[in-house]
Symmetry: C2
Subunit: 341 residues, 2 copies
DNA sequence: CTGAAAGCGCTTACAG
DNA sequence: CTGAAAGCGCTTACAG
């Protein structure tokens, strides 16, 4: 029985060198493409490697080169449903891009207060760089990374222009969505948003304000409710907005929006007939809703991939843009009247 | 300016050996605790290390020991909202447990059809073991892992008893939930579930049937709807159930349940007065619902942690239970009448 | 109790 | 174009 097992001794560079009667150096060169080597021997090596299924040991390679071929992805350790589609999709983009470049992704959880795990991973030399996902206004991780001299890029936005950042263009997107609502001929459009601790929520609010300014309308401060990070706060905001006779409500994300829709339904207020509603983020959460909800669509997977590529470029010392913004799509659905574009 | 930078040359084992006038061997022993060493020199070494912030290079250590101190976590590359809270929470448990044991977690995405990324990671010697999360009925990854001789554990359930598995006790939990509904004095309780490709959905159905059998009632085949993986299928199932005059509907997960609730609301059917409703899984999705929904609560983080611990034990050659099931909590809320327990 | 030496599987000046 | 040798930063028999 045991003897039938595949020979699971991994073959090393020495094995192929001996089999081919060349030096390890030569084999190494055939693989890396570095250094002079005759096309002839290179083909022989490659053929042998292919035939005998030799895989270089990346760990050993890394030791010799002082590289790890790993990057870390720091994700928040305190979960909230809001960001899940974002994390899952961007994660995929990151993993695929990394794979395509023979890198692997190490997962590390961080919390607002502690970046011990990230610190340990860096101290242990386990990664060549790190991706920080969606930052807080005060982010200890950013501070940590800046004082370590390790390449990193923020998948998100920061005011600190020395930090490499790649993000969806939330500001322009949110502005366009609000413009779409204002174009519908209404002006009393309220905003309900999540925690201002997240930079992204501040960015979204800026987009909201941009749209008003561009339309030459003053956004009323009393139509704006931020830090609604619990259903009861959303509920209270909705009630106040109703008292203010709003014609539309824009929600900063899908979780807020789904709560808003439930409350409106509970009060028998028709969407969009009485109050139009839209969300700054489009996830499965609202896909099934009736009426279907107008919202912004971002390509989080592409965002992850580009963030990863940026980091890898940075690691390899190639030039990278200090800040990149990705586009968005505005999906107009019944909740704001599909006829108006 | 440049000169003010922290010296970021990492200090090596040789540096501390020379500083202390001992051999690398001695330093290594002080750290690992292996081999004889006088308490005196051990303390000296430890003190120096502490004072000079020496961190062993885990990569080099791994090379020498033919270990990586990494484990892989394989997650589905094709995302669906259903499993998000599950993945996010279990991921956290895994990461924390790994960290606590000086291991790190590499992320790898797999799809039903391709496990190329996982294969590459193993071939590259990047991990000592792998965690497979929630399996499909026909899972290529399981097949792959079995033929490689690499330790792995399934965070989920499989009929193949040779596979190490850790899972929530979905069967017992679902059975208890259904019993709770039957205890309420109703018998026409329907089931709507997601894809049968997932083992977990089959397990849940077993729990449903167990409860009926224990109650001495025959579950009606026409009250059971599986493979409802799209809202329209759920809708059609709900309509058929209404025609059958069901008194209760049990949903296999929160996404199904939220669609069901919307449809019932759209038809002005009162929950729980006309039809009681419950879900086999409790996520934030239903927390805000009115009425609050009765459902099962699993501790996914604990599940992740235990799965990880099991894998690490397996890697270290310690004995492990071939199969472990974790408990659950039944949260009774208005959607099934809180008064009935 | 301690150390010299070989080894883990690669890469990379350096010499030819 | 090719190879011997040193080195990456550790560990671990083996000898003392």
């Amino acid at each position: 029985m045991e003897t039938l097992h595949k020979e699971n001794k991994k073959i090393t560079i020495l094995d192929v060198a001996e089999a081919l009667n060349v030096s390890k150096t030569t084999v190494s060169r055939a693989l890396s493409g570095k250094g002079r080597i005759s096309e002839d021997t290179r083909q022989r090596v490659l053929a042998y490697i292919e035939a005998n299924d030799y895989k270089p040991n990346v760990i050993a390679k890394g030791l010799a080169q002082k590289k790890t071929y790993n990057i870390a992805l720091a994700i928040p350790g305190d979960c909230n449903l809001v960001d899940m589609p974002f994390f899952q999709n961007s994660m995929q983009g990151i993993c695929e891009e990394a794979s395509a470049n023979d890198y692997d992704v190490m997962l590390v959880t961080t919390t607002a207060s502690s970046c011990a795990n990230l610190e340990r991973m860096i101290a242990n030399n386990k990664v060549d760089g790190v991706i920080l996902s969606r930052s807080l206004v005060k982010d200890r991780n950013v501070a940590l990374l800046k004082e370590q001299s390790i390449p990193f890029v923020l998948m998100g936005t920061s005011r600190d222009s020395r930090i490499l950042q790649v993000d969806n263009d939330h500001r322009a997107g949110c502005s366009e969505l609000v413009r779409h609502m204002l174009d519908g001929g209404i002006t009393r459009v309220g905003l309900i948003g999540g925690s201002k601790n997240y930079v992204v929520n501040r960015t979204r609010r800026q987009g909201y304000e941009d749209a008003f300014k561009n339309a030459g309308v003053q956004p009323a401060a009393k139509l704006i409710f931020e830090d609604c990070d619990r259903p009861d706060k959303v509920e209270s905001a909705v009630e106040k907005l109703i008292r203010e006779n709003v014609q539309g409500i824009v929600c900063m994300d899908d979780v807020v929006c789904s709560v808003v829709l439930q409350i409106l339904a509970g009060k028998n207020i028709q969407v969009p007939q009485q109050i139009r509603t839209a969300s700054f983020y489009d996830s499965t959460l609202l896909k099934n809703n009736k009426p279907a909800v107008t919202s912004l669509l971002f390509d989080d997977k592409a965002l992850g991939a580009l963030t990863c590529r940026t980091l890898l470029r940075r690691i390899q010392g190639e030039p990278v843009a200090p800040r990149t913004l990705l586009g968005y799509e505005l999906i107009i659905r019944e909740s704001t009247f599909p006829c108006v574009t």
